[in-house]
Amino acid sequence: MTYFNEMFQDGKTRPPYARLANWTESMPAPLRQMKQAEAEALFRRIGITFAVYGEGGDPDRLIPFDMFPRVFTGQEWSKLERGIKQRARALNAFLLDVYGRGEIVRAGRIPARLVYQNEAYEQAVVGIVPPKGVYSHIVGIDIVRTGPEDFFVLEDNCRTPSGVSYMLENREIMMRMFPDLFRENRIQPVDSYPARLRRTLASVAPAKCKGEPTVVILTPGHFNSAYYEHSFLADLMGIELVEGQDLFVEGEFVWMRTTEGPRRVDVIYRRMDDAYIDPLCFRPDSMLGIPGLMDVYRSGGVSICSAPGAGVADDKAVYTFVPEMVRFYLGEEPILQNVPTWQCGKADDCQYVLENLGDLVVKEVHGSGGYGMLVGPKSTQAQIELFRDKIKADPSNYIAQPTLALSTTPTFVEEGIAPRHVDLRPYCLCGESIDLVPGGLTRVALTDGSLVVNSSQGGGVKDTWVLAE
């Protein structure tokens, strides 16, 4: 398999990376190692860590940072931006529809079973029209590249996509360590993200809120793997970081305990799954949520971002139908393509998948974080057979995709600089308007040949540049 190298093509350096060639030449190995150590020290000082589930060891370990930036031209980005915003609009239109009249199901464009029998479909929010008609306020869309013009969407994240703090920190650290690079290259800033997120959240305050809305971030607590990000964003937005016990329901509203007495809360940016947010509506054993929250939400007293029920749009089986959503709701052709996907729940697809397991990537429909997946070409026969049994036992729980030739970008490794596979997660903001900062989180598979970029599977991150036109 040949891979598209984003920096070098036919022995030449591609234009967006032109000025980086000199940069690496001016940095001999000892200096580079010193810089790498400096970057790590900075990350440690800031305290940015990411807990890795199921691997044992230090839960507060650093996510590896690679100093070699990933670069897009303004032109490349403008196409991506249109594609991302289009997709985010379609996903929200879908959510509003399936909790409303269900036109897309009636029109036969998506099977009713996939939507209404979906575990993430919440009966409790049927008929709810959230402020501005938005269910998913931060849409994280994972994109891979296979050629100069070829971008594919790997998956959508409509609930609470994490990682945006890395986008901001990576930039911060690069600017501190290599200020010259930012003089030589015209790099579009990303530091407006927190202000834009706050504006988005405030724009979906409920009708009952008069005046400046009070916005809070709701976290499950410090044991959550993304807790650092929750507190980081709260700081940058200048809003309160709260846990369930800091909020309570009284009368028609949600209140926050403060030293000056209760204060009404209008918008909750929750970084907690639906199942835990209200023991009166969902899991009765949840100690993390706010009893009665859903009744306040459903009677228009508070906004919840993302809205409960948003998960039905980012299911891996529903994913197949996103291009159809773009056509159905927007009357446009999708700008970003899906990766061809086989549904093991369909007999024909399943047969194909079982016959070609060695070439495919197989994922659980509800899985995330790179767990429970099989990368056929990188697996042993025993691993493949294990998956064959799993798929046979519960076909509809799996989908399969071709093993994509993920693009590579130069990455600092032990031996010097080598190509490593990357993906991209931009964070699209949806409120009164649709907003996107020029950039995102580039994840890199640090192991030679690996195609799994998830930070929970040993992936690293890079600063992502979008050059000004």
Binding site: Y116, P279, G292, S299
Partner: protein, 267 residues
């Protein structure tokens, strides 16, 4: 039939509680089979919160009590004019898609025994539904005190005894196993002078039957809901359709005591 309801739920705590929040599904459904004459829900020391009609057509009301309180009284009184529609939920406004009631929940998971009990033959969908309801009535004898709030349909069938909640869960599990949308309904039942009916605070199942829409079945009483029944609301299972869901802060022990009287009102 004009029915009069007096329903009092009393919560007693061994030490005072604060920050009590309740979510009620205590207002009769609006459909051709029942017309509310007057209806009132009060909560001692309670402040009324948000109120709305959900996608399933139920009126949801929330209440909060700042406390501290050691006792809470939830009182429901009112009169409803009912009409016998042989179980058919006619004229009920709801938008929740019937297919979404095919999902099973822990208490309504069909095991092998329930799936087998659902094999009552093929035929006209309404007839199949009736046969399944009869099968439940035959397989689970009415025996109060043999099951508890968290007993699953499979457990009730295995022991062959249960109450209306278990009958409803069993029928729901069987229907879903056959691809028929089914849901749990909470309500009241008028007990006649001979005391034939089982429980005044009652529960039954509704199945979505081709050509009829939602139809009620009460395996506990081997019938379809008629003018002795008052329908309050529905859900995927008993917990999901509960007339009262509540929680309080604190570590107090709670004792609950319920009295329900459903009478034929004076015209």
């Amino acid at each position: 039939m004009l029915l009069q309801v007096n329903h009092v739920t009393r919560y007693v705590y061994d030490r005072p509680v604060r920050g009590v929040v309740q979510s009620h599904r205590l207002t009769p459904s609006v459909f051709a089979g029942q017309k509310v004459i007057d209806w009132q829900v009060t909560v001692s020391d309670g402040q009324k919160g948000g109120s709305f009609r959900d996608g399933a057509g139920d009126r949801i009301e929330s209440w909060s009590i700042r406390g501290p309180v050691s006792e809470i009284l939830v009182t429901v009184t009112g009169r409803v004019e009912t009409t016998d529609l042989v179980g058919v939920l006619k004229g009920h406004k709801e938008t929740t898609p019937p297919q979404s009631y095919l999902r099973s929940t822990a208490p309504t998971e069909a095991d092998v025994a329930l799936t087998e009990l659902a094999q009552v033959g093929e035929g006209e969908p309404l007839a199949v539904a009736h046969r399944m309801a009869e099968a439940v009535a035959g397989a689970i004898a009415y025996a109060p005190g043999t099951t508890h709030a968290h007993t699953t349909a499979a457990e009730a069938l295995a022991q062959g005894q249960g109450v209306c909640q278990d009958h409803a869960h069993a029928l729901i599990a069987m229907a879903r196993a056959r691809g028929i949308p089914a849901r749990y309904v909470s309500g009241y039942l008028f007990a006649d002078a001979e005391g034939q009916a089982h429980e005044a605070a009652h529960a039954w199942a509704e199945l979505h039957v081709q050509g009829y829409g939602w139809v009620g079945f009460d395996p506990a009483n081997r019938c379809c809901p008629d003018d002795r029944y008052i329908r309050l609301g529905s859900g995927l299972d008993a917990q999901n359709a509960a007339p009262i869901r509540g929680i309080s802060r604190g570590i107090a022990e709670e004792a609950m005591d319920v009295t329900v009287a459903v009478l034929a009102a004076q015209q």
